[in-house]
Amino acid sequence: MAAPTTAADLVVAPSKPEDNYLTHDKGILSWIFTLDHKRIGLMYLVSVLVSFALGGFFALVVRTELLTPGKTLITHDQFNQAFTLHGAVMVFLVIIPGIPAALGNIILPLQLGAKDVAFPRLNLMSYHLWVLGALFLLASMVISAADTGWTFYVPYSTSTTTAVIPAVFGAFILGFSSIFTGLNFIVTIHKLRPPGMTWFRMPLFLWALYATAVIQVLATPVIGITLLMLIVERLVGLGIFDPSLGGDPVLFQHFFWFYSHPAVYIMIVPAFGVISELICAFSRKPIFGYKFIALSSLAIAFLGFLVWGHHMFTSGQSVLAGAIFSAITFLIAIPTAIKIFNWLATMYKGRIHLDTPMLYALAFLWVFTIGGVTGVFLATMSVNVHLHDTYFVVAHFHYVMMGGSITAFMGGLHYWWPKFTGRMYPERAGRVGAILVFLGLNFTFFPQFILGTRGMPRRYYNYLPEFTGLHQFSTIGAYILGAGFLLTAIYLLKSVRSGPKAPANPWGATTLEWTCQSPPPYYNFHEAPVVNRGPYDNYDKLRFDKKSRGYVPAE
């Protein structure tokens, strides 16, 4: 990979500094109907963050209700609706589009050296579909929020009186949004690589996005048809899922998890990509084991399709099938551990800079490892039978989804914030926010592991008095978490107005997006960049320029 390197390709593309993608066109319509991947990505980002606030609000409602046994704040029906909305909003509106559609949309063509994604119109359509899907979810919320849990299991989802159809239809539309994004990314990576950008010169974030896109394209259609069947089942009574009409509710679970297990990799694999970027950039060191990290993303994508049955150990599946699913699930620990160890090896003897994104990356390593290891516990059939549907499961997937995906998303957000907005955020506040989030996360979810092993079932409104202490601990953790995010929201918003201007390369990173100005010009690159080096070479060819407060090529 280490082709003869020159510093020439790290020169910032000359461009009028006042002309960038944010200022290129004016007016609200130039945003709503833009075909520019950066603007679409930014709209995604804003929408995802707003949804994140909404989902976070529901999370705090749920946690507050659980402060005491019995009623604290809301009724049990409202509680069911609150956790359903929390789950549906966080999964479908925040985590799934968070890294690929929001961060990836802006960064993918920049890192690749392309002018745009392959199908800009499709990209815009996928954002519009996202908005439409979100509106349907909101409609369900307003009419009478679904109380099925985000998994929409039949027969409850075909018999409850709440507005399941708008919620399911919203998820159906969001699925198409996700498919089109994935399709776009695959074609972009295949066909729009500039001269010299071979597969193994791509930054690892792109490998992760590619693996994610493959899952999005191959798994999401199945949830699409499943949700459509669920809607029709509710409307006219198909009898495919509804047992009262001769249907098979376990079939729904198979279909659902055939998508939704790969979907957890849609949520976590791009996070791996972000972490690879962060660890490299802030250790100022080329990644250790590039090919292993790149290919392990694809391995995870592939294996992810073969493990859906581990969600159904207690659904009357045969023991043999359970054992096979369990064994394949163990296998996924291998590519995942490959990544973790390679990241650690990358940091070894690196020049580690503890900037905010790196703090998030370190938090990720800690939290995700706990989440991953408890996943192995749950993949063990005999253990799973006891822990199934307890708070242990809740704690596990929050450690992975919240501690993994959201932490990486926050890291990526801070890392690329100067590129997106052209402004720097206050570093000190950023670090405080990162530490608050890390502490809040562990305070919130670690007690839930203990609650789960002691038998506290998930999704319960009421609980035995002896669980009160741990529940209260968890709720206080959630408030700390909320405070961390609130602080982050405040300083990020403030930085857009009054933050110092960002240099092209504030972090001394070497991937292509840092070679164009911040924010990038409308066409990214005036000429397709010629790539003659690996993505993480040349750290030693950059020097810090005090005047612009960024890194520039060393002479």
Partner: protein, 429 residues
């Protein structure tokens, strides 16, 4: 690296490039694709890159389409594997001629779609338009035929599970009559007999709900409680005392059966050699088409044990009368009925007429699959009309035929899905 932009342009440049194009959202920025290719969007370097991207994109899209339908094919496979008799029973209600007509229509439309691509590649503007028009006409024909089929189904009460209420029994359906005339005639005779019986002995035959046919309560009962029925006859067998007696016989039976499996087979081929055992023999012959308790056929393969109520011939109610009549069916008459799950043995011995369990699920799957396919045809019509408009503006030629190529690929997939749906739904044997 400027040369790279041109190097990919394998499609020869010619003077024939027309006016403005949709691909150019931002005209005249002097950036990206060379200006001699006005149909190339700004972020592509060459026409070839644009075409290749489109091609990969449409193939990926087709993959997602296949996976989208795969959920339904999966549901189909599972229900057919679990309830083969339902699918055999239900396919008689589908109109094979209309299905075949639609197959021909769609194949023709795929041909003209492919021809349209070829014509575009050769720059034969008129031929492009003609072929697109024929394709659209075929698509409309397909939807028209589908409309006729759907309206017949609605009229006959052949609807998804919750609304499923067929107006005709299977032996009254033309396709069944044509394929199994003996069975259809036998059932018609039997029904006439029941009618006559009801007319002569109205008081005895008074059945719940005032229904004229004895089989109706049975059918309703089964249709109303499919979940219970799904438990299978084994569960019922344990509840009835008669069945325990049967089981006792059944346990002795394997020895007899093992010694003489051949007679049962022969009996199936020689109609009406024994007055009492014919339907049973047919049942033994209809290998595994129904999931009746395996114990059931064995004891009656030996002709002796007639069902106990048969002794009460003079005062029998219609269930018993019907069961006796059904036992007299010849194998040729009974086999199709057994296979379709219409004729079934109750746990305690006598035959009964039922509608197959989960019959409505077949029509759920039928409407869902063909309906979703129909939606794809309608979308296809929309895209083809758009292509026609663009062909009218003389957009396509040897250098630029991507959109029409991609539309045709989509259309072939829609066609292909029907090629699978037709035999899977209409041509079950």
């Amino acid at each position: 690296m400027e040369s790279k932009a041109n190097e990919g342009a394998r499609v020869a440049d010619a003077a024939k490039s027309h006016g403005d194009d949709h691909g150019h959202a931002e005209g005249g920025h002097g950036h990206g694709a060379p200006l001699q290719y006005p149909y190339v969007a700004h972020h592509f370097d060459s026409p070839q890159q644009q075409f290749d991207s489109g091609k990969l994109g449409i193939w990926l899209f087709l993959v997602t389409e296949i996976l989208f339908f795969s959920g339904l094919f999966c549901a189909y496979t599972i229900y057919r594997a679990q309830n083969p008799e339902v699918f055999y029973w239900a396919h008689f209600y589908l109109d094979t001629n209309m299905g075949a007509l639609n197959t021909v229509v769609l194949i023709l439309s795929s041909l003209t779609a492919a021809w349209a691509v070829r014509a575009a590649q050769l720059g034969q503007q008129k031929l492009v338009k003609i072929n697109i028009l024929v394709t659209i006409a075929c698509a409309f024909t397909f939807m028209g035929v589908k409309y006729v089929e759907y309206s017949h189904k609605f009229h006959d009460g052949l609807l998804p599970s919750r609304h499923f209420d067929p107006k005709h029994e299977v032996w009254e359906v033309e396709a069944f009559k044509k394929k199994h005339p003996e069975a259809a005639e036998a059932m018609t005779r039997l029904m006439a007999k029941l009618e006559a019986r009801k007319a002569t002995a109205a008081v005895d035959l008074e059945v719940p709900h005032g229904e004229p046919l004895a089989l109706v309560p049975v059918v309703n009962q089964v249709a109303a409680a499919p979940a219970e029925a799904a438990e299978g006859s084994a569960a019922q067998a344990t509840t009835t005392q008669a069945a325990t007696a049967q089981e006792a016989v059944a346990q002795q039976a394997p020895a007899q059966e093992g010694a003489a499996p051949a007679p049962a087979q022969e009996a199936a081929q020689e109609p009406a050699t024994q007055e009492a055992g014919t339907a049973e023999a047919a049942e033994a012959g209809a290998e595994g088409t129904e999931e009746a308790a395996p114990a059931a056929p064995a004891p009656v393969a030996a002709p002796a044990p007639a069902p106990a109520p048969a002794a009460e011939e003079p005062i029998l109610d219609d269930d018993v009368f019907l069961a006796n009549e059904l036992r007299k069916l010849t194998p040729a008459e009974a086999t199709p009925l057994l296979r379709a799950g219409v004729l079934q043995r109750q746990a305690d011995g006598p035959f009964e007429l039922v509608r197959p369990k989960k019959a409505g699920v077949f029509f759920s799957i039928y409407f869902f699959m063909t309906g979703l396919h129909g939606v794809h045809v309608i979308i296809g019509i929309g895209v083809w009309i758009w292509m026609l408009v663009r062909a009218g503006r003389r957009k396509f030629g040897p250098k630029y035929f991507g959109p029409i190529d991609f539309t045709a690929l989509y259309w072939h997939l829609v066609d292909l899905i029907w090629i699978y749906l037709f035999p899977l739904l209409y041509l079950i044997h």
